[in-house]
């Protein structure tokens, strides 16, 4: 399959998930994974701003905690934070030269093996609501076509977020994002519960939760809640086959 075919397939896949029983958390994870596959980057992350104006991590291409740490540290400074503030693309082609610009973020990113980064704004109705972070292991930047594709992915993510109607009578962007943020917290809690019950790591726990949701056509957040409420037996959430199928990144 050519890359073009894969791109078309990706957009169709994303559009398909934006119907009926839409699972925004799963969608955002899928988007992050596809970014890594289609664009020349090693990791991708999606951040959203909450009602207080604080950037929150919504999804990452892999659940490696270090990737998430990195993104979250950008709450204070970093390309994602700048991108959100300016509502425009922020790029660093070589992080080794950025220790003055981003004294906390740059050294940490380099330590994790990232050499360059591009942050693309997510905008909804003229408002910047977050950013898509693309981390690369080599210097340089994405070619123009990739940047355009990345902006397209960011735009789709922004539209998708407005689909989540968990708030009755929602009439603003802020309330609609709250549902997604709340689901995200619940999923993190469920990861901890499952990790402890099944004696596995939180990454493996997340893989099992996602696999179960997909297999049974359920929303991730509903699976999380059922597990937490005791309506779902941890033992039903699979076995080593799921863990083995989690790609190592």
């Amino acid at each position: 399959m050519t890359r073009e075919q894969r791109i078309v397939e990706t957009f169709v896949e994303l559009a398909d998930t934006m119907v009926d029983d839409f699972d925004v958390i799963e969608f955002l994870h899928l988007l992050a994974e596809r970014c890594v596959e289609l664009l020349d980057c090693a990791e991708a992350g999606l951040l959203l701003v909450d009602a207080a104006g604080v950037l929150r991590v919504m999804a990452s291409s892999s659940e490696r905690s270090d990737a998430l740490d990195l993104l979250q540290s950008q709450n204070e400074e970093g390309p994602c934070f700048e991108c959100y503030q300016r509502g425009a693309l922020v790029s660093s082609e070589d992080l080794t030269g950025d220790s003055e610009r981003w004294p906390t973020f740059a050294p940490m990113a380099l330590q994790k093996g990232f050499r360059s980064v591009q942050a693309i704004p997510m905008r909804v109705r003229g408002e910047t609501v977050g950013a898509l972070n693309l981390f690369r292991a080599s210097t340089g930047r994405l070619v123009e076509q990739d940047l355009q594709l990345g902006q397209g992915m960011a735009d789709i993510a922004a539209i998708a977020l407005l689909q989540e109607r968990t708030v009755r009578e929602a009439h603003g962007v802020v309330e609609q994002l709250q549902g997604a943020l709340s689901s995200r917290v619940m999923i993190e809690q469920a990861k901890g519960v499952l990790a402890e019950r099944a004696h596995i790591g939180v990454d493996a726990a997340f893989a099992r939760l996602r696999a179960h949701a997909r297999e049974h056509n359920l929303r991730l957040s509903n699976v999380a809640r059922d597990l937490i409420d005791g309506h779902l037996d941890a033992a039903l959430l699979g076995s080593s086959t799921h863990d083995a199928s989690t790609p190592e990144r």
Partner: protein
Amino acid sequence: MPTDRLSVVLREIVEADVDGSASLVDRVCMAAVNLLSLRGAGLSLMVDGELRGTAGVSEPGIAIVQELQLTLGEGPCVDAWTSRAPVLEANLAEPAIVRWPAFAQAGVDAGVLAVFAFPLHLGAIRIGVLVIYRGRSGMLNADEMAYGLVLADMATQVLLALQAGAPADVLHEVLAGEPSHWAEVHQATGMISVQLGVSLDEAFVRLRAHAFAEGLPLRTVAREIVTRRHRFQGPA
């Protein structure tokens, strides 16, 4: 770029009732009133898995309207609790859909023409509801809605910190948003709930209490738990 709502809300809470002896929870309600030009605000807490008890009010007169909902078993407070989503009524006197026949009358009699209820929760942890009452009809605009959500978030943090026995000098940090929205904190909460055989909100309180007792940032303790360098031991 939205204004720094967190700082604005924090300042309102700190400055509300400076000379008085209002509790922190009451001050959250007062801050809501000042910020959003409200008739009043009230906060109800969960006790033993059920919503009851008024934890705070902006003024004593509002307590009656807040508590009435629990007595009647109807109202925006009750609906927000069960639905886990904000419940917004812009026209209590002539609602588009009649949801609370008994409560609406009582509310209007008390001078309330619009009411907005925000559940207080942290993921699957539910602890109560913040209700704000307006003396004129009309929906919250986008900015007011955002402030409502920030106030609800702060109320959640305050209540959980108080339950964890937070010393007074640390509450300021709590309000300033010592981040409890980091993934590890929620993961650790889940793990502790299994380790101790308790509910998530009890687990979170224990996590927070441990951090206060050790003088460590919440996130550091959470990381110790998630990396399994530290476990909470259940009763033998």
